[in-house]
Symmetry: C2
Subunit: 482 residues, 2 copies
Amino acid sequence: MDAAEFRKRGKEMVDYVADYLEKIEKRQVFPDVEPGYLRTLIPDCAPQDPESFEDVFKDIEKIIMPGVTHWHSPYFFAYFPSASSFPALLADMLCGGIGCVGFSWAASPACTELETVMLDWLGKMINLPEEFLAGKDGQGGGVIQGSASEATLVALLAARTKTIRRVQSEKPELTEADIMGRLVAYTSDQAHSSVERAALIGGVKIKSVPSDDTFAVCGSALKKVLDEDKASGLIPFFFCATLGTTPCCSFDKLLELGPICIKENIWMHIDAAYAGSAFICPEFRHLLNGVEFADSFNFNPHKWLLVNFDCSAMWVKKRSDLIGAFKLEPLYLQHQHQESGNFIHWQIPLGRRFRSLKLWFVLRMYGVTGLQEHIRKHVRLSHQFEHLVLQDERFEICAEVVLGLVCFRLKGSNELNKALLESINEAKKIHLVPCHLREKFVLRFAICSRTVESTHVKFAWQHISQLATELLKTWEQNHHQQ
Amino acid sequence: MDAAEFRKRGKEMVDYVADYLEKIEKRQVFPDVEPGYLRTLIPDCAPQDPESFEDVFKDIEKIIMPGVTHWHSPYFFAYFPSASSFPALLADMLCGGIGCVGFSWAASPACTELETVMLDWLGKMINLPEEFLAGKDGQGGGVIQGSASEATLVALLAARTKTIRRVQSEKPELTEADIMGRLVAYTSDQAHSSVERAALIGGVKIKSVPSDDTFAVCGSALKKVLDEDKASGLIPFFFCATLGTTPCCSFDKLLELGPICIKENIWMHIDAAYAGSAFICPEFRHLLNGVEFADSFNFNPHKWLLVNFDCSAMWVKKRSDLIGAFKLEPLYLQHQHQESGNFIHWQIPLGRRFRSLKLWFVLRMYGVTGLQEHIRKHVRLSHQFEHLVLQDERFEICAEVVLGLVCFRLKGSNELNKALLESINEAKKIHLVPCHLREKFVLRFAICSRTVESTHVKFAWQHISQLATELLKTWEQNHHQQ
């Protein structure tokens, strides 16, 4: 394919994507296919000779679309949102066209520098303490990671290196293996599984801190486990606080936890993957109070800030802590502007796309006010759904609705709620996923799509309510029969 | 921006990208900017109100392009190639439009299934042993990672878990920390720094195995360090072999190394990040002989197979080894088709884009023969450059030219060669990076761009040769003065 054909096909693809997103509402949100469907539809091996674009293009509707879960359908209320917007799509086209690999300043100055400045813009939008910003000669700064999982892992590794060095200087008789064996990381019992995975990868112990009855970790709970562990000779070194937990969007109490971490020489990382985007609204910024105690902070514009995946923003107070954890620099990666924004030591992969273009396009074409509107609409819609649930006595709300997530269930057994979720997801008019809150099986209703409106939320509730009525009828019959 | 404006702007962006790539030759390959250039060109913070697309668009040439290192210029001969092709760009547009997050089968069946099938296609193209393929019910299979660094890390972690379990079952008196402290990974002294980083992240020791005079690791060299380490109580558990090392594209001797790893219960991972793409040509496939002894294998279609970054293909013989290393599954990620292609346990990040679309588009629209032509052209051009160097008695070739990389230098001191590289990169007509081969400072000439032709190679050589003439003149004068 030459540039002339690319011009033609690229424009056809732009129209296809525009059509897809404009009419996504008409597609069934969750596919009908069974596992293994795709292998039966395509050849066993790659063709020897080139096929035409037309042949490939017509297979999109025939082979791909029947197996797509439509994350941007206004009837998609599962997981957390995955951001999508037209400005971000345009920026990604440009990113692909430039096709640079921005691992060092020399490998692409624009890529490295725009990233640093965009993370400063974004940090200012959520009013991050100045220490986290790069500015002209700050010690902190931000970097785009692929996912919150990577940000947590990078923070944990930096904390591990820092702690091992400190303990070795205090007690030179201990080997690195001795220290590693005694390091403990902590996180909420509500935290995302990626925190446990980060510890598993880093080869250190991790313990759950019990959350309180609002599903938040408070200072006394952390202090209790720390005291026990220190008494038994362990070395607490890392605490991952969550703002906006995955199950129910609860918020750990930073203002209590932060001072404890500082006193105990524990690296505090804050994972605000979903909730972080909301902090651009002054009315939600208070949820971030206490960030000043943290060593690192992360949230995902690719979840809720209209920047397509992948764009996970991470800030640290001291860049040198990250660099110290990873620094290895062979000659083919050295260059004369060594200290200027070299992201090699900030992340797990060496290569990286020009992802900051997406942030630049989105922040400029929406403006802060446009993005605030997007967040506020989602929060309004979740409260609308909450209100509908509360009006129905058969249901209960299971956690405070703070942002765009509503946790709810039928009053009754877990089996009953499992059956309700099954009937919802089998009808495939909307799509939800569940969670556990303590012993309870709970349904999560997350406002996800950029184009979701009040009518979709009302439809979803009427649909759920009707399925509940049908379910309760048969459920009671079965119950009477037993 | 609504869909109607996206249609308009998307088409403008397609033309911009087509123009950029069509006329890239006219741009200076390496930028003139100094560190910090970009911050002075843009505001301190994000705009409150939306800006127009036109405003953003015109800043691409004003702010971004002056700081871009043009990786796809036919005058770019640095690092290794970063792949780019029109079919891949089209697929990435579609990927952005669908915007799914394919971490599990349910989250997007098409995304998960196409990936598995595409990795089978690709595996067959390089004639990987059947055990590495997923097929309908194989135990192996492939996954797309973001980079070779991630593939190496995932392999090392899987090996670590497997070894700890085995040793614990043999010697239940050892704690996990005891075993961790005795584990040792190995790789060539020519291996990429990401291997050392993987060990650093995984908290295990790593040792360099000396390469021979062809810069390859042979069996006896590995055996020697293993014997020493076992004698001193260490536990060898992981060997990362390289096919196509970064400095000079040398090849470790798999046929000698593989049987040793099997005998010693060592996980052998093969990193063929750059060279792997060449194995689709029968005449280069012999370089992969011995892969049958490996547990995992990786190469980067995003380097040399015309699939834009990021697409790093990794295969394992036993999927269960990866899954065992990571398995943690909270309720919100569980679904009824649990065992069907769940990539959660195959990688570091949880989320993932629909990257297999790029492979599908490229493999179909080029066909195997089209891709073979691309590889063969690059190899032909590197031999052309090698030939030009060999005709000039002032220069020497420093390592066998097998694929698309030529390592060369002026006969003389390292200082002389540093000065030559400096004069090349300061002239900015072409772009190269250096490496060290033992004590020698060497220039790397890598055939990179999809559109590079014989004329560009000739131009590059004439330019280098002329700069060398000028340099040698002043160098000798300075030498005489001393």
